[in-house]
């Protein structure tokens, strides 16, 4: 039942992800949502933010890798995503070099 296009082009193989994978990811996402909401009610100091963001990153990676098939895709697409994340981090971190080292606390 896997539809395989019979073209000759390089790495054109299309990977069809099966529903069980989707289902597993789906459930994991729901579980993680519950987890992150639950944790937010516990006071962990700075770790609240750290954990919430870590879980968010993890969830996002699940979506990107499986729902968006990046796990099965060519190197080029992986590189594209990496470039996006990289530039986003550049924007944040280089802007922060200014904000962090300005006068204490307040600009």
């Amino acid at each position: 039942m896997t539809e395989k296009t019979q073209e000759t082009h390089q790495d054109a193989e299309v990977h069809v992800v099966k529903p069980p994978v989707y289902l597993a990811i789906f459930l994991a996402l729901l579980a993680l949502t519950a987890l992150t909401t639950g944790i937010s009610f516990i006071d962990l100091g700075v770790f609240n933010a750290v954990i919430a963001l870590a879980i968010a990153c993890f969830k996002a990676s699940l979506v990107v890798l499986f729902f968006m098939h990046l796990h099965y895709s060519s190197r080029l697409l992986k590189l594209t995503v990496a470039a996006g994340i990289f530039t986003f981090l550049l924007l944040i971190s280089l802007t922060m070099t200014d904000y962090i080292s300005r006068a204490w606390g307040m600009f």
Binding site: T87, L90, L91, L94, T95, T97, D98, S101, R102, F107
Partner: protein, 553 residues
């Protein structure tokens, strides 16, 4: 083996019976076309239109500055004039200039594809551009904007009652137009190369545009969201950029320059791409250090994202952060130097002729070197304190943008004119125009360096009388420059009808685009070519032409 290329006599050349120009007729066939070549022509016409408007505004600026007081127009009129000049020239002329016209036309031809990857998106991008242009024009007609092209907050958000939002919308749309152009190029270069066309067989023109596209797709959206924030802040009186409401005006600067510094490389990389082709062709020689030139394009694009704060050195950024950005700016200047030297070395042991595109390319080399090196002045922290916001900056960026990119654009237009239209431009008059442009340019903008060091602030409608002499020079130069630009606008359309028939390869150049008929067919190649040689392989070309001469003769 000899690399001297000899083609059949041009005099015998005929216009091809069928080409993308006469495939279909009527306005509709143009406005709904998916053909990258037709879209390129649409772009060519529209950006020329905006260049004339921007140029007339430049003329008004120079006329006003002829005398010290603001006598020709009121100060706020002057402010509107230079704002519109900057906005139109940058977003509606220079950013799309080479990529959207020449690039659009040539990238599929150069990589051996029938079209860009997404023809409809390409057309959409032109419509977005036009919509953006209409917004900017209506902002101008309704009374203008006087923010400067940099939209500095909180001035633009809380202190002006001109049509800021309209102009911002226009730039927003033009921005998406350029995002889509970049997207199309990237996908085309990655996915549409013909068999045998490896990355290192791509012409440097394609490398340059690839690097440009990276900046377009990664930088432009940040500008878009920034302008949205400005518009929201204006309409809803929010204070993200307003210190009295707890916001930070410098945040705007960060976000704006995060795009607008890389954008200056959007405005030069395609020009550099043109220069590679032109210099190689007219010295009949492979570009010296192909890989170095190719990689330096990408390096400029990547490093270009690391230096934006150099526009904010005295604006109250942290001094440590200023150090970091000054250092990065020094690094980003190096790849440009690499390119300049490689092009100069390409001439060594070449077989050089001096057609119009080559003259423009020489102009580029000299003027861009000056413009670029004065960029180093500005990147030098202590020097920037004195030079920033003066005419030194105005001179710097006109040297790189007008002396660099505009020269390269004209070089490109002349170089590929025969390919686009099938006809030659008149050689003698175009050479004159090139020389006039060069002289006019120097007279216009060189005095501005001196003015800048003297301390004359930019964006001044009136200035102290001490500065007048140099300003008169500048205005005089601008008149010469205007003639230099007016000439091509006259003789290029003229040549459409009266120009000599060009033939396939009037320059005896090696690029794939020169091996097909001019103007090309709608589907570019009768059959998708197979690339079996490096770019700029004059041996291959000589071989091929010999073969051709034999079969024809």
């Amino acid at each position: 083996m000899s690399t001297i290329v000899s083609l059949p006599d041009q005099a015998t050349a005929k216009l091809p019976a069928k080409s993308f120009l006469n495939q279909e007729y009527g306005l509709k066939s143009w406005l709904l076309t998916g053909d990258h070549k037709r879209i390129a022509i649409l772009y060519l016409i529209s950006i020329s239109f905006f260049f004339v408007i921007g140029g007339v505004l430049a003329g008004l600026i120079r006329l006003e500055l002829l005398t010290p007081p603001s006598d020709l127009m009121a100060t706020d009129t002057y402010n509107k004039v230079f704002s519109m000049h900057g906005i139109i020239m940058i977003f509606l002329f220079l950013v799309p200039s080479v990529p959207a016209t020449i690039g659009n036309f040539l990238i599929p031809l150069m990589v051996g594809a029938r079209d860009l990857a997404f023809p409809k998106i390409n057309l959409l991008s032109w419509y977005l551009y036009v919509a953006g242009g209409i917004f900017v024009l209506s902002a101008m007609v309704l009374g203008g904007v006087d923010t400067g092209w940099t939209f500095t907050t909180p001035l633009s958000t809380h202190y002006l009652n001109t049509h800021v939002v309209t102009a911002a919308m226009g730039i927003f749309l033009a921005g998406f137009s350029s995002i889509f152009t970049g997207l199309n190029f990237i996908v085309t270069v990655h996915r549409m190369r013909c068999p045998g066309m490896t990355w290192f067989r791509l012409p440097l023109f394609v490398w340059g545009h690839y690097a440009t596209s990276i900046i377009m797709i990664l930088g432009t959206p940040v500008l878009a969201i920034t302008l949205v924030l400005v518009a929201l802040e204006r309409t809803m009186s929010i204070g993200v950029f307003d210190p009295t409401k707890g916001g930070d005006p410098l945040l705007f600067q960060h976000l704006f320059w995060f795009y607008s510094h890389p954008a200056v490389y959007i405005m030069i990389l395609p020009g550099m791409a043109v220069i590679s082709e032109v210099i190689s062709t007219f010295s009949r020689k492979r570009v010296f250090g192909y890989t170095a030139v190719a990689f330096s394009s990408v390096a400029i694009a990547v490093f270009g994202f690391l230096v934006w704060e150099h526009h904010m050195f005295i604006m109250g950024v942290s001094q440590y952060s200023a150090l970091v950005f000054s250092l990065m700016t020094m690094l980003v200047a190096v790849p440009s130097a690499i390119k300049i030297f490689n092009w100069s070395m390409t001439l060594y042991k070449g077989s050089i002729t001096f057609e119009t595109p080559m003259l423009y390319a020489f102009g580029f080399l000299g003027l861009f070197t000056i413009g670029g090196l004065t960029g180093i002045f500005l990147a030098t922290l202590g020097m920037d304190i004195h030079l920033t916001e003066t005419y030194f900056i105005v001179a710097h960026f006109h040297f790189v943008m007008v002396g660099g990119m505009l020269m390269a654009y004209l070089a490109g237009v002349h170089f590929w004119w025969p390919k686009m239209t099938g006809r030659m431009y008149p050689e003698a008059i175009s050479k004159t125009a090139a020389v006039i442009t060069f002289i006019g340019f120097i007279v216009t903008f060189f005095p501005q360096f001196l003015l800048g060091y003297l301390g004359m602030p930019r964006r001044y409608a009136a200035y102290p009388a001490d500065f007048q002499v140099l300003n008169v020079f500048s205005t005089a130069g601008a008149s010469i420059l205007g003639i230099g630009y007016l000439l091509p606008m006259l003789y290029l359309p003229w040549s459409l009808i009266y120009g000599k028939i060009a033939g396939n390869n009037p320059w005896q150049a090696t690029g794939l685009e020169w091996q097909i008929q001019s103007p090309p067919l709608t589907e570019n190649f009768a059959e998708i070519p197979i690339m079996d040689h490096e770019a700029y392989d004059y041996e291959w070309l000589a071989n091929k032409t010999q073969h051709e001469v034999q079969t024809v003769g």
